[in-house]
Structures are given as C-alpha cells and as structure tokens.
Amino acid sequence: MDDALERPRHQPATTTLDPAEEESSGGEDGGLDWTKLPKIGTARPVIPKRGEKDFEPAPGGGSGLQVHVLDRARAAMFDALKADRAISSKSASYGIWCPHISRVHVTVARGIHFSVMGHSAARPTLIDDGSMKLQKRLELLPEEALYLIERGALFCWKDIQADLTGLDDVEGAPMSVQQAFAEIIGKEDLTLEKYQVFAYLRRLGYVVTRTDPPSPSYPVPSPRIGGDGASLSFYRRLSSIFSLFTTSFLRFWRGSVHWWRPLRISRWIHHDKSHSNVLKSLRVIPTGHSVAPHSSRATPVAPSSPYKIFYNMYKPSTNFRKTTPPQPDFQIVVINARTAFVPSLYELTELFNVLPETPPPLPRKRGTPPVVQSSPAAVASPVSTSTFRHIFSWLLPSTPQPISSQPRPHPFAALKAGKKNIVIAAVDSGNISFFRFSQGAFEEWPTL
C-alpha cells in the first residue's frame, strides 16, 4: 500500500530552491528577494531564489546592515517594477476594445498566444461598397485581452465614436494598462478575482477557457457522452427518494437477500462466515453519493451561491485545439474569500452533479507491463440465453463478475483521488489559494 501512496503526484518543483526556503514557514510568508532578480535586459530571465529573512529589526529601526539590506531589496523591487512593456513592432499584436460588446477585436494577431486564446465571431462589418455584411473576425474575451495587454503582447485601442480620418493607423484611443484594468474588468462577468486566477494559471502555461460560453460563437467542449447535466441531477434526486425502497426490493428479487439460505445445504456444509460476508449482510442502509443529501427546501442551493464553475483548465501537455476544445482536465470555481463561506454539502453536491467521473489512479507499474485479457464471459455466453438474461437481468440473481487481470488500483489512493474533482480558487485581495474538493467513493472501496 505504501507504493501507491508514495507515488509522486507531480514533479517536485523545488529542485532549484535552496533549503533555507523550506524551513521558513512554508514559503508563503512572502520571503521574496528582489535583489536576485536579473537587471532588465542584461541577462536572460531567471526565476530567482527566495531570499532569507531576519526575525525582526534591531531596536531603533534596525541595525546599519539591516537598513542597508532592506534599502537594497526595495531598490531592486522598484527597479523591476519600472520595467516598461516594450515590444518589437514586428511581434506586436493590435486590437480594438469594443466596450458595448465586451470584446477586443484583434486586427493584427502575432505570436503563439493566439493558438490558445481568442475565438472567431461573425459581426456586421462595413465593407468597401458601403453595405453591412456579416464577417468573421478574431475576438478576445476581456480576460484574454487584459492578460495580453498586461504581458506586453497586445497594443489595444479603445473604440471611440470619432472621425479618425487622416490618422491612418490610429484605430481609436490608445489604452494604457491602467485603463485596461479599469475598464475591462467588470465586463462579461469578469471580476478582479476571476482575472487574477486566469492570469495566474496562464502565466504558468495552463490553458484556461470559460465553462459557460459567453456568446454562441464561443467554442466549448462537446457535451459528454452519457448526458450528464441538469436533467441528470433532477433524475438523481427523484431516484434517490425511491432508492431506499427499490434497492431492498431488488435485492430481494436478485437474491442478495438470501431468505432461503437456511434451507440451503451449503450453509450446513461450509461455514460461510468470513468477515466480508458478515459485514456485507449487515449493510442495510445504502451508502454513497448516489443518495443525495436530504433537504426540507426544494432548492437548497440559493441561486446567488458563488459556487458555480467558471473556468475550464487544461494542462500545458494537453493537446488543445482552440476550435474544438477537448474535455477539460480541471474545472475551477473562483470565489472571493472575503464574502464567500466554505461550500455547503448541497453546493458541493450540485457541483459534483455536473462533473464527470475520473478513473481511479493506476497503481505504479512494477517490472512487467500488465497483460490485458478479454473477459471470457463476453465470448462464451450463447445468444439465446444472453437476450433472455439481458431483458430479465434485474430479476435474476447476478452472475459473478469475471475477475480481470487488470491491476486493481490501491483503495487508499483511489479514495484519496476521489471520483469527481473540483478546484476552488479562493482569492482574498490578491492572495490566491487553490483547494481541491473531491468526492470520495467510499461505497465502492469497502475496506473489508
């Protein structure tokens, strides 16, 4: 069991960090040493190490050395902050911010960013002969545009209703990053918290898209096979009411309840009293998440609940195609930590209802690769009985599942990973913390 648990979840990123960081209270304490930042333009950008910090300043505002080191650190920080966004005219992209539709219309798209950002939308455009025509054009969502402006890849004009003749390449009022922050945030459901999460993940190379398409032309992953969604959650709730009765009824018919057991001879021959059998027969109340939590209210989750999935997230390694995005690797809820509470069980249930199930983590391979065998039952069963069984299967005692030779995942690893996962990003005025809530499938991994 230790093998499965000690399996590293991801590559440790601490290879370049010095041990001093580990001992300083988790590194969250903002132990940043700006003096280790390379001077702008002198060397290739290197993510510097965190510096060491002192316990407290010496009485009277710090010793001479402390003051000197602090001044140096501050000066380095302010130097780094003064860096301007200078791009070569050959690599600059251009766009026009249209506040009335909350989109940036990209007029010149350059660089690799546009392989994962932006979508095409048909808008009525004035063509040469003076008539209006629907034309496809590349558009950016507010967060995408702001991110590109901020990292110095996109020069943005603001669409102004003014006569711009004689100004050839000027397409509006030039926007500063400050203006972009002031005007672009707040449009199309984008809050500062959501933008901060978006930018944080994009800076790390993740691909981030919206879960709910803000407009029909925005590409989203095709619906999952099996039709999860709101209808299912309704069905689940309905079925959960009856599940208590139906399961016991079905169990009676299928023969899980062995009412004739005392009559069977085997009972008197074998002593069928292993732990698992005894415990199984004791399990009267159904367990697991197929039973929705009970509530006296019809809709236990208020419509104003902040727990709504906002972003789809893809790992950098995922083969992402902008026009036909695949199913996301993670889905993210962004909340404001100052106003939102910890999610209630109902809110989590609501989230899990729309999420897909993830397969349990595979155990670590040792030596030989596992041999996949086709199950013998599928080949052997004759047609005539199989149709009969198919129709009346719910009436008949269930046949034992063929034991597959697939390596069984370790139960603790599977329980820890959970069946369904949701990432919640809590933002407290610029501080982002990511949490993962997962639905543990305890009923599927009985530790018997």
């Binding site: 290879t15 370049t16 304490d29 940043l32 333009g41 002198t42 060397a43 290739r44 993510i47 510097p48 965190r50 910090k53 002192d54 316990f55 407290e56 300043p57 402390q66 650190a73 501050r74 780094a80 902050l81 003064k82 860096a83 301007d84 966004r85 791009i87 070569s88 005219s89 050959k90 690599s91 350059r110 660089g111 690799i112 960013h113 991110y147 901020e150 110095g152 020069f155 943005c156 102004i160 003014a162 006569d163 711009l164 000027v170 009022a173 500063s176 990053v177 400050q178 203006q179 002031a182 005007e183 945030i185 500062l192 800076r203 790390l204 809590a426 407290d428 005025s429 501080n431 913390s433």
Partner: protein, 314 residues
Amino acid sequence: MTQPILLRVSNFKAYVWDVDDINILRSHHHICGILTGTLPHLSSQNIFLGLPLQLMPEEAVLLVENGIAVLVDDPSAHHTPSPSVLKSWKEARLNDVRQQIALTEEKGSIEASNPDRAMSENAKRKRKEREERRARAKSDGVPCIPAEHSPSPRPTPENPSQTTVGETPDNTIAMPSGSYTVNIPASSSKLEWYAPRSHISLTIAREAGIWLYPSTLQERARCGVFRDLWEKGYYMGGGIKFGGEYLVYPGDPLRYHSHFVASVIEAPDAALRPMEIVAHGRLGTGTKKAHLLCEWNDETQVVSYLSVEWAGFG
C-alpha cells in the same frame, strides 16, 4: 505636506500605478499592498509580480482617513481624446519611431567595425548564449557552467516577445521600413486625456458610488483592528494562508518574518468556539507565529488583544 497619493478605484478596488507612490507608501507609511500584475520582462512565473499594486480595502480606508491618499474614480478619469489630441499623440509617436529607426541605421553603419554594438541588448544576450552553448558543446561537460544559466528553466514557448526579438536583429538592419519598439504605457498619468477627479473623503466617495467599504460591522471591525496595529508601527499583510485576517510583521515583509497571525473578532460578546482556539494555537505554533485574537468594540472603538500559543505540556 506633499501631494496626496492618488488611489485609482475601479470595481470597488483600489490600485496604485505609480512606482514612486508605492515607494512612499512602503517606506514612509508602512503600507505594502499586494502586487498583482504581470512583470513584463518575467512574464512566465508567479513569484514576482508587477504593477498594479492592489490595496486591501482596510489599507485604502486608513490612507484616506489619514489624508495620505485620495480616491479617484478611474474609469471616468479616462476621457475620450479629441481627434486633434490624437493627432498630436500620433505625431509624437511617429517622431519617436523615426528617431529609433535613425538610431538603428546609424548603428548599422558602424556595424562593420564592431558587430556587437548594432544589436539590441536582447540580441546580444542571445548571441552570447549561443556562443557559450557552442563552447560548452565543444568542451563537452566542463564543469564551469555559469551559475545563473544552469538552474534556469527554459522560457516557455508562450513567450513570443523574447524569441521573436532575438530572431529579428538581421532584419532590423535590412528592412528599409525598419523595426521599432512599441511601448504599452503602464500608467495613464502621462496621457493627455487622463484627468482624475479626486474624492477627498470616504463619505464623498460613498455618495459618488465608487467606494463602499466599510459598510458592515465585520468590515468596521477589520478597519479598526488594522488601524490599531498599524498605529503601533507594524507592517501588515494578508493572513488567509495562515488562518487569520492579517499577518503582523515587525518590519518590512521584504526582510523580516511575521510574528503574529491576527484574526478579528467583531464584538466583545461574539462567540468563540474552543475548536478555533485549538486550531489557531496549533497552526500558529507550527508556523513559528503566535496567534493574535483581536477583539473590536464598536461602541468604544477600542481593540483588545489576546495571543494563543501551544504550550505543549506533558
């Protein structure tokens, strides 16, 4: 008294966009805020962030109440420039571009004598690296790899500005139209059509509908506790990752560790569950901090403090 610092407010959030203002706030008023933007020259990491500086609402309230700063409604401060203003902006830009191209050409003419000088810093760096790499490949496994190169992660491919800038130096000289640098200004202060109108007090800002904090008892308690600790000379940071409202530092967080994690209790009769004390005591000790319970009395406007530490007898 110097000019008050302008806090640019949009969507009920206060930002500082001028580096000098950030310096003043930090050095003179021990207000840190949190940097939240992308550093343009280090855009693929989250450890060091850049402009703007986002202020916690408590910080903004304190600065305005003390007359150190005033609030500015930022979206309405950006006016629409008239065509004539745009024209002059465009001419200024054209002049700048022409100068840049002229400079490049001038450098190009003396390139024959010294090939290094005509290139941009970036290009030089790239060339130096290329040469180093070649040298390294030749001497195969010589241990004297420069320290700043070996542990650096490769810049991710989503960084076009660097790669493309590096590839263009030859074109820069050859192309008659010339390549130049496009600057995206960070702050709006230098734009001609930026005219901020300041709101001197919180009441005025509240009437204008741009700032509402503090509006509840909890928010008042936070502001009260923040002010009290700030007046004692502490630096404060966000404490959400340590289970409290604030981290309390004895000096600049750049150089010193925090001593306390402060959590705000709204009223003297507010319930405090024993589990909270256990959790705070445990977590605070585990992170070498003491947990500070700060109790706000809204009637007398006084804060009383209690600190919790894990004694660990037995």
